[in-house]
């Protein structure tokens, strides 16, 4: 207590000097806190106001046969089973989005139609967050369910202004559905929202069911799955890894019949390496590999060909029960080759995977009937049979994530790809941007602090010089060296602490002031840094505490050396000192 009292009173002795030094430190802290809050704000905008609504914290993305626009998985139940039973998941939503061209009153523009599910059980906190990000200036979210309007839609204020439409006006949209067909539809503007961020200003919300209908989804099919989870920074990666594990594919098999006899149909991989292997394995008795490797190529085992009485060039009729629809799927296939030896089995029909998946995805086959053993290809064919889907590897950085998608376009996979990712890897560039901004800020502040620290050292040296006789007195009276040292350290500590607190207030005032400025970025990409035209700052406890502790630690460490020097004065020498 004695040392604290002495330190605090000594601080007031050189008011002007300490005020100047304190002001410099306060400005340093204010810059650090403001910059940190700004960079964190950018991350928050991207992750919590954009990515969260676009991809969720964790996303399961389906991509049928490499088609960017075909984000569909044909077995909804199976897709959703993999994300069940995870207590960290707060919300699991189906994400349906389509790029469209919207035509308003005399103007047209690109939009992103997004399907939203209006949940009856949405929590108050989630609703508040949703309303904060997408504030309705006209209409309400529930209007998306209006039965009296044709395809009710909510459009952003900016887009409504640009398209020159008002509430209850109609806009026409052109888009491509899941089957690659160009479609047109009319949307009724039932609400206009003020979206926080420039990224969200192109979004037009449509009720999920209607969006799926427009895109041609059938009831048993699903779009991408987005998961919003508790404590995403902690849980996202582990959850994505677990879900990835559950999506491991088996072999895609169609249990069919030909001329009343059961046959198993599998696809063979048609990439060059697989085709080479097949050439080495299969011994053809008729037909050619060249024909067999075409998209509609079929290789029939010799035994089955004999039983069915067909040779290469002949036709076979297959029929198989479908998983989701009544009635069998019938297919007529031309035999491209007959395999005398080296093929998977006597009843196994091999189809080029491109053709195979046409049947497999369009008319999903039923599971093997009762008493039928599921077919598992063996030996070398285990690696040559087409899987149910292609599970993309997990990636943990944006660079790796981008590389993964470059591989997709290179490989021209025939099956549906499934990708499980977190928003941290899909947008880890944003985290990098935050880190870069922080590094730039810290570098600037380090220079500033270096100047401040020179000030601390100089101030302390002057103070010690001025108070040398006083140091001699307290040492003569009986104050230990460590107490003298601590007295000066405490002075520096309090000066820095008060300056940091002042810097904190200054920082908040600066943030408040800057946040009041309104910018009109229009289509400028810098608009991503804004929320409703304003700069967005998100100070965090860690950022603030870190900044304050950093400057205190640096100042105290710097003060250590002069303080120790003061403590080491001989009392007799110090008492004999004349200023």
């Amino acid at each position: 207590m004695l040392l604290i009292k002495l330190s605090l009173r000594n601080l007031l002795r050189q008011k002007r000097r300490n005020l100047l030094l304190g002001s410099a430190m306060a400005i340093g802290v204010a810059i650090l806190i403001t910059a940190n809050a700004f960079s964190h704000g950018i991350s928050d905008i991207m992750f919590n106001k954009v990515m969260r609504y676009v991809t969720g914290h964790v996303a399961v993305r389906f991509n049928e046969r490499g088609g960017v626009m075909r984000e569909i998985f044909r077995d909804r139940e199976r897709a959703w089973a993999a994300v069940k039973g995870e207590p960290v998941i707060k919300d699991a939503d189906e994400s349906i989005g389509m790029f469209s061209r919207a035509i308003g009153n005399g103007k047209s523009d690109n939009i992103m139609m997004v399907g939203v599910k209006l949940k009856k059980d949405i929590s108050a906190a989630d609703l508040k967050e949703l309303e904060e990000s997408f504030r309705m200036s006209e209409g309400k979210w529930q209007d998306l369910e209006r039965a009296d309007a044709e395809n009710p839609a909510i459009i952003s204020e900016d887009k409504a202004r640009y398209l020159n439409v008002n509430r209850n006006d109609t806009i026409r949209v052109r888009f491509r559905n899941m089957f690659g067909q160009d479609q047109a539809a009319r949307l009724t503007v039932v609400g206009i929202s003020r979206n926080d961020n420039i990224f969200m200003q192109s979004v037009v919300f449509v009720e999920l069911g209607r969006a799926k209908e427009l895109l041609g989804f059938r009831p048993w099919e699903t779009g991408n799955i987005t998961l919003n989870i508790k404590d995403p920074q902690k849980n996202a990666r582990a959850l994505a890894d677990r879900i990835h594990e559950r999506y491991k594919p088996g072999t895609a098999v169609i249990y069919a019949s030909a001329a009343g006899r059961p046959v198993t149909v599998i696809g063979f991989r048609s990439d060059d390496a697989s085709k080479e292997k097949i050439r080495g394995l299969a011994k053809l008795s008729s037909g050619t590999f060249d024909k067999a490797f075409r998209k509609d190529g079929v290789i029939l085992p010799a035994a089955l060909a004999g039983r069915l009485g067909v040779a290469a060039g002949g036709k076979i009729k297959l029929s198989y029960p479908r998983k989701f629809e009544a009635g069998p799927k019938d297919a007529s296939l031309t035999v491209a080759a007959v395999c005398a030896a080296g093929c998977p089995g006597p009843d196994v029909v091999l189809l080029n995977d491109a053709g195979f998946y046409d049947y497999y995805y369009e008319d999903m086959p039923a599971a093997p009937g009762p008493g039928m053993k599921p077919y598992l290809p063996e030996g070398p064919w285990a690696g040559l049979a087409a899987p149910e889907w292609i599970l993309l590897r997990r990636t943990y950085t944006t660079d790796d994530y981008k590389k993964k998608y470059q591989d997709i376009s290179k490989n021209k996979w025939k099956g549906t790809t499934i990708d499980i990712s977190t928003m941290y890897e899909t947008a880890s560039d944003i985290l990098k941007l935050e880190s870069v901004l922080n590094i730039i800020t810290i570098s600037a502040v380090v220079v500033l602090f270096f100047i401040i620290l020179l000030g601390v050292v100089n101030t302390l040296r002057m103070t010690i010089r001025e108070r040398t006789r006083e140091i001699g007195t307290v040492r003569a009276i009986g104050m230990q060296r460590a107490d003298v040292r601590d007295m000066f350290l405490l002075e520096t500590f309090f000066l820095t602490l008060f300056s940091a607190l002042a810097g904190l207030l200054l920082g908040f005032a600066v943030m408040r002031g800057l946040a009041l400025l309104t910018f009109h970025p229009e289509d400028n990409p810098l608009g991503m840094l804004l929320v409703n035209g304003h700069l967005y700052f998100l100070p965090t406890f860690t950022g603030i505490a870190g900044s304050v502790l950093l400057i205190i630690a640096i100042a105290v460490v710097t003060a250590w050396f002069p303080a120790r020097r003061a403590a080491n004065f001989s009392p007799a020498q110090a008492l004999g000192h004349f200023t």
Partner: protein, 228 residues
């Protein structure tokens, strides 16, 4: 009983490559409760002798016993403890702590000794009354006259009940009337608290207050003149 025993004490100062002897073999004993003056011209070694006795400077050679304890081989921490517990200092320039008020200056050594705040304040109140500055308790040193400051310094020196009070030219910065009153006070405190007082001076008027006078010249003690 002797509170101080010094034999063959030497103290040299280095000034660059030159060694300046300040004390050149001093032998001295001081009895408990004495009121002793060390006199001598400027540069004779008075302050150095007081500094060594007061444990704020080290002897170059010889033996110095304070309260029967040899101090020449002690660590800084031990020496500091001796200064705090056994010795009180009165300086020529008062050396009060400017940021503390009078009562806080007086209780300061007790707080260094980790005495409770209440106990320190009780003892400081007693001393401030004895030195006649009760009404100035809340004043800062800058608000006091030289004589008042020296009274505060005396109270501070005595607050820990030290065995020895060392006063280096305590009246040098005071006018003769105030100086006399300070010496009167020291003498009274010596009788009241039974504390050994050793003070240096080169003022002949001061000598009449001393019971014992030790004369020093060129770092050597001369034959003691008779006490007043």
């Amino acid at each position: 009983m002797n509170i101080i025993e010094i034999s063959a004490l030497r103290k040299d100062y280095s000034l660059g490559s030159t060694v300046v002897p300040a004390l050149r073999g001093v032998d001295l004993t001081v009895a408990e409760g004495d009121f002793m003056s060390i006199i001598g011209p400027s540069g004779s070694g008075k302050t150095t002798l007081l500094n060594v006795i007061g444990c704020i400077d080290y002897a170059t050679a010889g033996s110095v016993k304070v309260g029967g304890r040899e101090i020449t081989a002690l660590s800084d921490r031990q020496i500091t403890d001796i200064r705090l517990n056994k010795i009180g200092f009165i300086f020529q320039t008062f050396n009060l702590i400017p940021v503390l008020d009078v009562i806080e200056n007086i209780e300061f050594p007790l707080l260094l000794m980790k005495r409770s705040a209440a106990e320190a304040r009780r003892r400081a109140d007693q001393l401030i009354e004895e030195v006649g500055l009760k009404e100035h308790a809340a004043h800062r040193p800058a608000e006091l006259s030289g004589g008042q400051r020296q009274r505060v310094a005396i109270a501070r020196a005595l607050v820990t009940n030290p065995d020895i009070v060392l006063a280096d030219e305590p009246t040098a910065n005071l006018d003769s009337v105030t100086g006399a009153s300070i010496l009167e006070l020291m003498r009274r405190m010596n009788e009241l608290e039974h504390t050994t007082f050793i003070f240096s001076t080169h003022d002949a008027n001061v000598l009449k207050y001393a019971r014992r006078i030790v004369k020093i010249k060129d770092g050597l003690l001369e034959k003691e003149p008779a006490a007043a």
